[in-house]
Symmetry: C2
């Protein structure tokens, strides 16, 4: 591989001039520029990024901390991150943490060894062992840490869950089951709050046996739904905190001989691409997944460059998508 030295010799100029031709061409005379460009072409010179990055003290790389890359919602978020990163001149390093703190720490530490210029955290933890590190550019997206001033991009999950619960109430449901995610998650907490808000607002008592805990996997949805069906008075509707669990719950309902939505209404959250193709098509909340990524990346870009992001806490819009998995309560 040709180096800047080779080019400078062939062009008969200094390495500084070659460097300038590449990075600030307007600081080089047209004549010199042409000579240098010809030499670059001739040698097929490509600047060594390892050297450039080392010299400029930045990696032009960011790392994204994601609990599970194979989750269809997160993979869309990452697609958004990648697109914006690319257009801003950043490469994106994949930090699939499997939800493990140690792996989060490993990846987040890369910012301290200059391997990466910033971090996008998609989970609600501070990714450092020793607490928040104000010198590490960090943006939080999707599931966000509360009570810090880390820039974030998220959904108003309280309102969204409330809207969904109200949708069920408007269909005549009073006895509404809930399948949550892990209770440590901010997203789960907020959606739980929204569910309770809706019940309170409609003077419906909160029944703890109606609330079951899942882990956002399909199989946890079937398990939790089965628990719900065993209640003395089983719910006539179930709100699941994501679509995967709703798919699991629908399967369990069918297995128990229940028709969805005639015997039981089931709703999800996320509007993953399969939601529309479930049987019956799933009522859910759609989230602009890619936009979480694009927005988080452009915020991180600001943070890296020492600019305060415009909206430190950005809320993205959601939409209630009513399909066929929810219907009127016919048990009344």
């Amino acid at each position: 591989m040709a180096t800047i030295r080779d080019v400078s010799k062939i062009a008969g100029v200094s390495v500084a001039t070659v460097s300038r031709t590449l990075s600030k061409p307007d600081k080089v005379s047209a004549k010199t520029r042409k000579i240098v460009e010809a030499a670059i072409k001739k040698t097929n010179y490509k600047p060594d990024m390892l050297a450039r990055n080392f010299r400029t003290r930045k990696s032009s790389t960011i790392v994204v901390l994601v609990p599970d890359i194979a989750n269809p919602f997160f993979s869309r978020v990452i697609r958004g991150i990648e697109q914006t990163a690319q257009s801003l001149g950043y490469a994106v390093l994949l930090g699939d943490t499997q939800g493990l703190r140690t792996r989060e720490y490993t990846y987040a530490n890369m910012v301290r060894t200059s391997q990466t210029d910033g971090i996008i955290q998609l989970d609600c933890h501070i990714p450092f062992e020793d607490g928040i590190d104000t010198s590490a550019p960090l943006v939080n997206a999707c599931d966000c840490i509360r009570g810090t001033d880390i820039p974030s991009v998220e959904l108003d999950n309280v309102t969204a869950a409330q809207k969904m619960t109200e949708h069920l109430i408007s269909l005549g449901h009073i006895n509404i089951g809930l399948i949550t995610g892990p209770l440590s998650s901010t997203v789960t907490k907020d959606r739980l709050k929204g569910y309770k808000n809706a019940l309170k607002k409609n003077a419906i008592a909160i029944n703890d046996t109606n609330i079951t805990v899942g882990d956002y996997s399909i199989s946890s949805g079937t398990l939790a739904a089965n628990d719900l069906f065993k209640n003395k008075t089983p719910p006539s509707a179930i709100f699941c905190m994501n679509d995967e669990m709703a798919i699991g719950a629908i399967q369990q309902a069918k297995k128990n001989g229940l028709n969805v939505p005639n015997d039981i209404s089931i709703a999800g959250f996320d509007d993953i691409s399969f939601a529309e193709f479930c049987d019956p098509p799933l009522t859910t909340i759609s989230q602009p997944a890619e936009e979480f990524g694009t927005k988080a990346m452009s915020m991180l870009y600001d943070v890296i460059n020492g600019n305060e992001p415009e909206n430190k806490n950005t809320y993205l819009p959601f939409e209630l998508i009513i399909r066929d998995s929810t219907g009127p309560n016919k048990r009344i």
Copy 2:
């Protein structure tokens, strides 16, 4: 951030000794080592990877070229890559190409600027504008380029598709529709060959109107299925080259008032996590998605280190998964 210089001053040794303590501790006396380690702890020194990578001329990073990160099969492959990469000391850069050659070139070029040590290509193109580059460590996985000696890890798609077609034939189907992927893909070509092999073997004429082209998306499955249903004698079974298209085809069948599998059998390929939860659950071919990734990464590791991989062309096992979307031909 503390540098190696700071540590060496505090420890009262040369920077070379600090460096050795970190990389070849057995070449340092126990006594010195302890002093140095104390100084490292005291200063909270972490080696600057940008400097180390520059100096050692390797980035300890690989890039994965993927047509679409949001595809559930690819995202599992990437999970496998990431796991093995991590354990081998490599970081993985995400090259979401959207199937665009220019983006492939951009990412693959990173190996020429030392930004990356190797490439895993999940699509069947040579990722360089100017043809194959023997100096660039490259491994091909999933959809592989033919007629080169690029190390590859793939499925025997011919046999797998043949098995699936034979399964349909064994159920009494003669008039079997096919929904393919883009014809430029090696995977598509191989599965098409397997389909034809099975028909020939059973002395069933190949009917070109039974073969429709999709693009591996759900919506292309609905479209292609609809075309098939318009045939003079519509097929009694449809083999779709992936699960997404099968899901689309099932939806279209239902829309047309057909019962799956009583009126029409529909089969997919991949066994994505939703296949089992379709209505009816999908008959499909399961592939060890993560293993494509782990295997490809360990092969790339060999290539990077100048070792010939053990099996230059690795074939992974598949399994025919019979669920409820395929059944006996009742039109006979």
